[in-house]
Amino acid sequence: MRSTLRLALLLGATVASLAFAGSALAAFGPKLVVSSAAPQAAGGGGPTRIGVTVPNSDDPTFRAAIYIPTGYQVATASAGKLGDVTATAAAADLGGAVLPLTGELDAIAPTPATATAAAQCQVSPSQTWNLQLTAAGQTLNIPMFVVAGTAAEAAAGYQTKLVVCLPPPDVPAGTPGRAQFGAKLLSASFSVSAITQPTATGDYRWTSLWTPYVPTAGRPNPAGSVEVQALRHIPTQVKLTVTKRKVTTTVRKRVKGKIRKVKQVSTLVRFSSTVTANGAPAASAKITTTAAGKRVGGASGSFRLAAGKSATVKSTAVVDSDTGSVATGQPENAAADLFFHDLGAGGCVATPAVSGGLPCADATVGGETISATSVVKGFK
């Protein structure tokens, strides 16, 4: 059944290739997402979170080179854990089931195996990192190489890149070098303490070059390569403005058996929040405001405080998280996904020094959740 399907797909692809001979036909639409590993500090800084996603229907990934823009600091990491990793992969050996993978990113000393992988990946790494992932009791080790950019890449603002090469998942079982479980990468996100965000304000454009495999052939398809990018606006901030006004009302109350007019004091609190990304309004932000832990509104609104009471007003903004996410493989904990705002091809600015003129297919803005608080003391 599966062979028939594969054959049909292959035939379909062949016919399409003939019909559109000369064009880059491969279905390959990866996305790169960059955010912060922890809520962004007002002035930037802190570890970085990087995510990638590839649709299940796309050709398998052979190589991904992620270029780190100038301004980010890449430390030479001593051996040890750099961050956590989650990933998903479709396992051909399990009927295409989605493997949720978890593990960590480690800095390691090069080994003969990583040296071989670096040679196959055609890189001379300055550091060797390892994505150690487990699924179904099996451990998958994927070397990640930290590589100095070429002179042209450095001149374009990319002095360092991360390079990963993956084994082919869709060659026949038993083929040497085939991916374990026939696992095809669908998504991965990892935090990395060795890459710290800039403290200087600015729009930082990460870029990446992706090369797929020729489907079922197990050989790279350089002509199918695409450039995709991720933008970081630093700082991305929420500004909460809170004002208060004393409100005095007169109410009738029974006091010692008689109806009397009594003055009551309360505080009218007005709030409004704005989100800026490197000084400009954020493309997408969803704001909720709470007072003393209870929701009191969205980006703006008001509420009353009783006399003498105080409350912490908190504005929480979910920024640039409206289009999609890099799945962690934990559907019950969707909040753990790395969300993004997709700018599409129109948001992508080609980097010839990286892509050599290949298509610039997509750009995203990495999502994050930020907040601001203010304590309001009510009038007496």
Binding site: V98, T134, A136, G137, G329
Partner: protein, 396 residues
């Protein structure tokens, strides 16, 4: 002179022991087993690693009666022919004292004649088949560990029999494992056994079960019983999902490790909710057991003796549970253990095993070769198996 003779006699003692009990020296006891680290049941591979970690922990705390346990486990890729070959090597080349926790029903059955002829204890094999549990007279040297597959099938059959309008489809491995579960299901259904509207089998080497699943779907069944191993459980859930088929699913207890369920959940989403099974070991990933001391012990043992092993892979936990029983049996085999004394100890277990759920005791007798007598019906709810009702019998 007398003193010299006494010294010589003492010195000769360990040699005599070693000669009398293969695999036993004054300082070590060597046991061996086979585990599918690769192949179609590689998901069970962590059983060996978990057991090994537990033995190392026991060794670090003085061993058993002063001896360290040396555990040799080899990858049989779930292929009974390889199990036979590797088991023979363990007995004849490695001179193991006993075979421990052979994983797999066919793998166990394939080696019982040889081991019983050689009078080598084959203890706590990873099977609940009647061909082992009921054959204690003809094959006394072989004892399984899992709850009886037949009893497990009975539990599902009884539960389904209470459901009006149930039309049952069964997918089963073509083995004693699948047969026992299906026989038990029919027995549990009793007068309602005609509710089974379709049955399909697969070979443990099959790479696809799509045609079987299509046939089962076409039967119009609204209940699906999966008498299968983990890989095929994943394939079955995925196939049902692709077919748009949403039956109530009963899945064999050998499949319910969180790391298997994680894959199913990531693949089919909420459709996995409501699945039913039975459980006998605690789930170290479940908040219900978060404060259980054995979970902290399990995590610390894994961290120290099996670095890189994932605590959510409950086959590690099961491996430790069965290793706990093996240590218990070795202790009761005495300070000068023989294969016969080990077998006798295994036939007289009366153990509260901390890795098992409350109320699930490990008990045996010379005529009771099912160490686990009770199990807990469970239902899958979002991320965990939740206990449903009281413990039920898991005897043959």
């Amino acid at each position: 002179m007398k003193r010299l003779l006494a010294v010589l006699a003492l010195a000769a003692c360990p040699v005599a022991l070693a000669a009398g009990s293969p695999g036993v020296t004054p300082t070590t006891i060597t046991i061996g087993g086979t585990v599918p680290i690769t192949g179609p049941a590689a998901l069970f591979g962590s059983v060996g690693r978990g057991a090994d970690a537990y033995f190392k922990y026991v060794n670090a705390h003085g061993g058993v009666n002063g001896r360290k346990i040396k555990y040799i486990y080899r990858d049989d890729a779930y292929d009974p022919a390889k199990t036979v070959q590797l088991t023979r090597e363990l007995v004849e080349n490695d001179h193991v004292f006993a075979i421990f926790d052979t994983v797999g029903t066919d793998n166990t059955v394939a080696t019982t004649d040889y081991l019983n002829a050689a009078k080598v204890p084959q203890l706590f094999a990873g099977t609940g088949t009647a061909r082992v549990g009921d054959n204690f007279k003809s094959h006394p040297w072989t004892m399984g560990y899992l709850p009886s597959f037949r009893a497990e099938g009975v539990v599902y059959g009884r539960a389904i029999a209470k459901t009006a309008g149930a039309k049952v489809a069964v997918l089963a491995e073509a083995s004693d494992f699948g047969k026992d579960l299906t026989d038990g299901l029919k027995r549990g259904l009793g007068a309602k056994s005609s509710a089974i509207v379709s049955s399909q089998q697969y070979q443990p080497t099959d790479t696809s079960i799509e045609s079987q699943m299509s046939t089962l779907h076409a039967s119009g069944a609204n209940v699906l019983v999966l008498n299968v191993t983990p890989q095929y459980a994943i394939l079955a859930y995925l196939a049902a999902h692709k077919l748009g088929w949403h039956p109530r699913i009963y899945v064999s207890s050998v499949c319910i490790s969180p790391n298997v369920m994680d894959i199913i959940r990531a693949s089919v989403g909420a459709e996995v909710n409501g699945s039913q099974s039975i459980a006998f070991v605690k789930d170290p990933t479940d908040q219900t057991f978060a404060k259980d001391p054995v979970v902290a012990l399990y995590t610390s043992i894994l961290k120290k003796y099996a670095p890189g092993a994932k605590p959510s892979d409950v086959y590690n936990f099961y491996g430790m549970g069965v290793a706990y029983t093996m240590v218990d049996a070795l202790k009761h085999a005495g300070k000068s253990p023989t294969r016969a004394s080990l077998l006798k100890a295994a036939q007289h277990l009366n153990e509260v095993n901390p890795f098992m759920r409350a109320g699930v005791k490990i008990a045996t007798s010379p005529s009771d070769y099912y160490p686990i007598s009770k199990a807990q019906p469970v239902r899958y709810d979002r991320v965990h198996w939740v206990a449903v009702g009281p413990l039920v019998s898991a005897r043959g």
